[in-house]
Amino acid sequence: MFWRFVIRAVRFRSRRLVLAFAGLAVAATLATTLFSVYSDIDRKMRHEFRGYGANIVVAPAADSQTVPLQVVEKAERLGAAAAAFVYTIGRIGDERVVEAGVDFGRVGPLTSYWRVEGARTAAAGECLAGSAVAAHFHLAIGQNVALASGPCMLRGVITTGGPEDNQLIVPFNRAALDAGFQNAASLVEVRANGQRIEQVREALARAIPAADVRILHAVAETEADVVLKVQNTVFLLAMVILAITTLCVTGNFSALVIERSKEIGLLKAIGAAESKIAALFLSESLVLALVSSVTGYGVGLAVAYAIGRSVFTSAPQASTTGVNFAVFLPVAAVTILVAALATIVPASRIWRIEPAIILRGE
């Protein structure tokens, strides 16, 4: 009998209930969307900062000119990207030029900001030229560069706006040989996950005391700062939006009870207990809340996924894990709680309704 009441109520008042349902479902959708976005924003924003390249630099210690090469392996074991560089002075004809040795197999993640014409990497016997070098010596891609220590074939020209523009870039081993370095580099650049940067720095400094391990403060701190601020903005907005939608839903549900004073009066007149009537309304609301939280959760996940996809498309592994299933329970809990509260508060009227007065008319 009780459930028949509930089901009938849903059936007969479908239009009115659809509105209440829509309101609640929208709130649940918004909650899911905002919290999915929020929970993932740290990882995704940090991912966008990887283009800045290294955030740790390992330079020679005070009394030395080189950095031991084992730094690279050590950093990689700590889960960071690392590449060694050698700088030496080479000669083309009777002019001097900075010869930079780069570990092309490893340097990729650190140099995504290079603008390259031609190839990005060079094999043994090949080289890349900074744009100023290429212009100064009138070098064209495919041409042989008459480097004094042995010619190399030019594979690409790079532009960065930084010191690389004035360098001739050769494979690491070639430059190390020209510089006379053995198992050593001029500099090792490391890109560590922004959240673990301090741990990585400490571990490297401890493992290789014969080097100066420095955090590039500008890169590391700007990243932390911007990520934190974007995250806080989304969080505060999420809170504001949720508070407001909750208020709206509450109004909507209260109206459901208030509108039906007549039916309540009738039920009381034929002898129904107040608590029974209240339970009737409450279960109606809870059914609505359950259905709308499931719906809202589904839609919200889709929206969060779409936002993740269209904003952060360049993060391949991030796009698949853009949704957070752990969000469901809190969303459902909050939705049901809101619906229950929004019903219980006006339901107190049930006790105060005088059937005779209500049924007589306005």
Binding site: R96, V133, G161, T222, D225, V234
Partner: protein
């Protein structure tokens, strides 16, 4: 109209709440992009201005292995001209420097003569201050910065890089000999980069020591830019005049570089890709994120307003039927309800818009610690939207109610 104040209040309240969401989101969306843009500026210069040169700089870690040509420099006097370009207001910082090297601790060390925070007269008569400090907000100094609001070529203060200070055992307050003159270490600078191995002194002091008065080797420039899009990457030489004008009048990094080259014909301005490109990328991600979250919230706000209005009309089908039965024309009923919806939409919209402006201001203050400037257009725009959505919400159930037979409606009862 004056009857049923409770229901009216609820409708107005619903509209106000929805509008508050919309305004807060729009306000925050407009604000966050600009804020993040200026935060990203703490990464340092995104443009490097150097003299046009016929020789290739041969330099490793600030040590030159080949002397620069004597007649290639930027005159210090033209540096302020950078502020006079079309996008001069977007130039947030500029730091001219002269480079030299000297012997210290048995090694060649690079010495840079710079503006730390110099007051200079910008074209247009205003006094601006700029230099290394403004440009590199993320740099840390132990001790204190060198303060150089006015030129003084007898000053003896310097800033020592952290690695150099460690090697030579320098603390703030210590003394170091540069070019045969004693300098006092005001502070120790640690950036993590090449600056850690350098010494910084006042530009005019280095000019005196090197005998190169008024000569600048490089100007680092920080500019607020618009992220590059496909149009920005087009070659300006191949554009038609209208395209070129649009390109020139947009603060792309390349158009600012071109304008600097026009103002300083002896120089080349190159974007520092590592900073400039990533700035654009991060910024467009943040903007995109806020835009989509705002759209989601806007859609929600619209739905809330719409459903509140629809509910109001639904509840009053009975009244509508009575009006019809007593001979009111359909258009009259529609106009009556429409006017009511519009009034409720406007009232709720205004309250909500003001509350929303307050909320987005609060978010901006809490997160960025800056007072938000809400564009004045936002409030009327949002109120207009609230009225439109309220009318749309009322329209559909109203049309349905009007199309029903009054007799049937009344018999069914409310």
């Amino acid at each position: 109209m004056r009857r049923a104040p409770r229901r009216k209040a609820m409708a107005v309240g619903a509209v106000a709440l929805g509008t508050a969401v919309a305004t807060a989101m729009l306000g925050a969306m407009l604000e966050v992009g600009d804020r993040v843009n200026s935060e990203l500026r703490s990464l340092g210069a995104n443009l490097m201005v150097t003299p046009k040169s016929s020789t290739l700089p041969v330099e490793i870690g600030g040590i030159r292995y080949q002397p620069a040509a004597k007649d290639e420099f930027i005159p210090e006097a033209v540096v302020p001209k950078i502020k006079s370009i079309f996008w001069g207001l977007n130039i947030t910082g500029l730091a001219p420097s002269q480079h030299a090297q000297t012997q210290a601790g048995g090694r060649q060390i690079p010495v840079e003569g710079v503006w730390f925070r110099r007051n200079f007269r910008a074209p247009g008569g205003t006094t601006v201050s700029s230099g290394l400090r403004a440009l590199n907000a993320a740099w840390r100094v132990e001790g204190r910065w060198v303060d150089d609001p006015e030129p003084n070529d007898r000053d003896d203060e310097c800033l020592a890089g952290a690695a150099l200070a460690r090697r030579l055992g320098l603390q703030p307050g210590a003394t170091i000999d540069l070019f045969g003159e004693p300098f006092r270490v005001a502070g120790v600078l640690s950036t993590g980069g090449e600056e850690d191995d350098r010494v910084f002194i006042r530009l005019e002091v280095l000019e005196r020591l090197t005998g190169r008065a008024g000569q600048v080797d490089a100007i680092e420039v920080g500019a607020l830019t618009k992220p590059e899009d496909a149009f920005a990457r087009k070659n300006p030489d191949q554009m038609n005049p209208t395209e070129f004008e649009r390109w020139y009048c947009t603060p792309y990094i390349n158009s600012i570089a071109l304008q600097i080259e026009e103002a300083l014909p002896m120089a080349v301005a190159r974007p520092i890709r590592r900073v400039a490109d990533n700035e654009g990328r991060v910024l467009s991600r943040v903007r995109g994120l806020m835009l989509l979250v705002a759209l989601a919230a806007l859609a929600t706000a619209a739905l809330t307003v719409w459903s509140a209005m629809a509910a109001t009309v639904l509840e009053r089908r009975y009244e509508i039927a009575i009006m019809q039965a007593t001979g009111a024309a359909n258009w009259l009923v529609a106009a009556l309800f429409g006017a009511e919806a519009a009034v409720e939409g406007a009232a709720g919209g205004l309250i909500g818009a003001l509350a929303g402006v307050g909320l987005s201001g609060w978010v901006s203050r809490t997160v960025f610690g800056v007072r938000a400037e809400t564009p004045s257009l936002l409030v009327p725009l949002v109120v207009g939207m609230a009225v439109a959505v309220a009318l749309a919400g009322a329209a559909q159930p109203l049309r349905r109610a009007l199309s029903l037979e009054p007799a049937r409606m009344l018999r069914e009862g409310a």
